[in-house]
Subunit: 415 residues, 2 copies
Amino acid sequence: MERIIATYLIETPFDPQAAAAVLAGEQSSGTFVAVPGETAELKERFAARVESVENLETVTTPAIPGATSPNGQYHRALVKVSWSIENFGYNLPVLVSTLQGNLYEIKQFTGLKLLDIQFPESYGTHFKGPEFGIEGCRKLTAVLDRPLIGTIIKPSIGLSPEQTASMVQTLANAGIDFVKDDELLSASANSSFEARLAAVMHVINEHADKTGKKIMYAFNLSGELDEMQSRYDAILKAGGTAAMISLNSVGLAATQKIISKGGLAIHGHRNGWGMLNRHPLLGIDFKAYQKIWRLIGVDQLHVNGIDNKFWESDDSVVQSIEACLAPLFDQALPMPVVSSGQWGGQAMETYRRTKTTDLLYMAGGGIMAHPMGPAAGVRAIQQAWQAAVDGWTIEQAANFFPEFGAAVTKFGNKK
Amino acid sequence: MERIIATYLIETPFDPQAAAAVLAGEQSSGTFVAVPGETAELKERFAARVESVENLETVTTPAIPGATSPNGQYHRALVKVSWSIENFGYNLPVLVSTLQGNLYEIKQFTGLKLLDIQFPESYGTHFKGPEFGIEGCRKLTAVLDRPLIGTIIKPSIGLSPEQTASMVQTLANAGIDFVKDDELLSASANSSFEARLAAVMHVINEHADKTGKKIMYAFNLSGELDEMQSRYDAILKAGGTAAMISLNSVGLAATQKIISKGGLAIHGHRNGWGMLNRHPLLGIDFKAYQKIWRLIGVDQLHVNGIDNKFWESDDSVVQSIEACLAPLFDQALPMPVVSSGQWGGQAMETYRRTKTTDLLYMAGGGIMAHPMGPAAGVRAIQQAWQAAVDGWTIEQAANFFPEFGAAVTKFGNKK
């Protein structure tokens, strides 16, 4: 019978093998005393199994509150635990409750992070994965040989539909590939979803008629389910190609339902992610996290960016990009969305470390606040990526390309 | 204009006032450089506002990774930030993205926890809250003057529908008020949802016909949305009164949709909660968390239990019970679900500290593994609560009540 395997980084004052056994018990047949009906046959079929325990370092300060070590030592280990597919089948919310549920409450752990999930083969048949993914998003935007260049409408909130549309017009003229609502805006008092959709799609459709290039705009669908469904339909009807969902805020079951409608590329925003990941020994690693969202078909996934304005390290960003680009069954790959304080100057390091242009490269202020205007802002980022692929340094590119040079002058000394 | 106010516990190497301003900027109009369109009028209407900053202690070790302090000092503070209702109206996923979104990524913080949310009056009109709550659950179970006594079918997973039903029969005979699926089981290879529903409801309906008492069984609905909807209908049709949803695994939008169907009391399981709360300076406090789920109508909410088997302190459990019992507008109060390692011995301390019997008191092994059998297990817990309300000690109750006495002998020395 197929099994689902989860890899955890744990920390415990006890023997890691014993702590792992507590986890496996709690997450399958456990209660605090043996109960009738807990037969050997039942355990054999449904009990979680500790597959391996690899001891790591021992530390003297616990990472998070839990049981106190009698000798002041806390042992870290990599632990693999598996469950039979017979326990929950293809029910992802129950899978999440099994792999990421009450186990975070177990006091035997002073650290617990879900690092990875290995799904069995039949998951690849049952779940179709992204409808569009990298290739589909490239086709929709007609960008084949470089990252998609995108931006977020800023200010995040407060613009009227007309102001938003006028900004999209500016960005369209500037040669942008992708635009999106900020996650803080779905419908505000002065920007109803419907009015913004109409105003923005008018600009995008007209621009497409004129130039043959249809800009992808990810309207923020996040909200109540019925509203999300009708807005999804409205986007399709208006000729839109994408929608954004704040994955953590909307949640798994509603996101899965919305995606199953089909027809729009889904831009998966991971806001709230810091809550799940920022502590090194609590929560879930992006490698595990992204797999669940890929199964249900998210086409684009936020990964932060090199030299970002947030707390995350470049190493972590690179690992997240690699996670998105690692095959999952024969499903389409989701497009990593690189964002946060990006302006083009990070293209060289991003390419050096990932060797890919299969990215949606998002710049907000980096485009709109470019000293020579937004068109120059877009061109500067295209130039940066061309230079990055050709192995140029920032200095070489700044000297050669006037727009990128101006960007370096304005944004390059922010550190 | 009405405003939503969030209270955060923060830690920062910078001036807390300045760090709070970064949060407010990031979560309303912010990007890393000023952009066109960010007018004073727009900011006045849509910008988040730092309402107050109350400085707390300064520490020398940062709680979570972030910016490094030049002088080795990290300042803690209570910060209130507010947003106009014009930003997102009654869209809870966007509210969550605003109050719990990218702000967790801000490097200026080395700790950030959302402690509380204050909703404006109109939220009390727009959201109806629990359909049943404490009073409704009491009526459904005909238990008016003591906590509802409940149990979780154990082993969590592996029993056949017939075995589950037979256990429910045993529990019914024992006088139980409430039974639920474990969160690890919705449908397993040997226990389809439909077969388990039919088998369990047969027992419950027959028992109700005979005794007039309908046991509340919370079937685990958690899963894909369409399936949840049809299973919800099936429970209603079979005469069931409740369903369980794993709130974090299913997510906000789908849970809201399911609850809006109406007719079943919703048992809100918070598994995965440790991920959101276990670190003292990261995530969200239960006081804030429970308010969101109450707005959308969760009738019963897990709060862990006194002297539980998990890591959580008694103080934290008491605060969670108090949070559930604090009024939110004029909505029905959700029933706190006390569970984890409970067997009756915790009744005295639970009552002493909360002075309430408006609880669903769950015992798994505490009932099924009682040395005199499950009926004695249920009676022992009823006895414990009677004694608790009367101000007796554990010893007094153990001497007076044989069933509770036997429970004390078996479970009382586990620490």
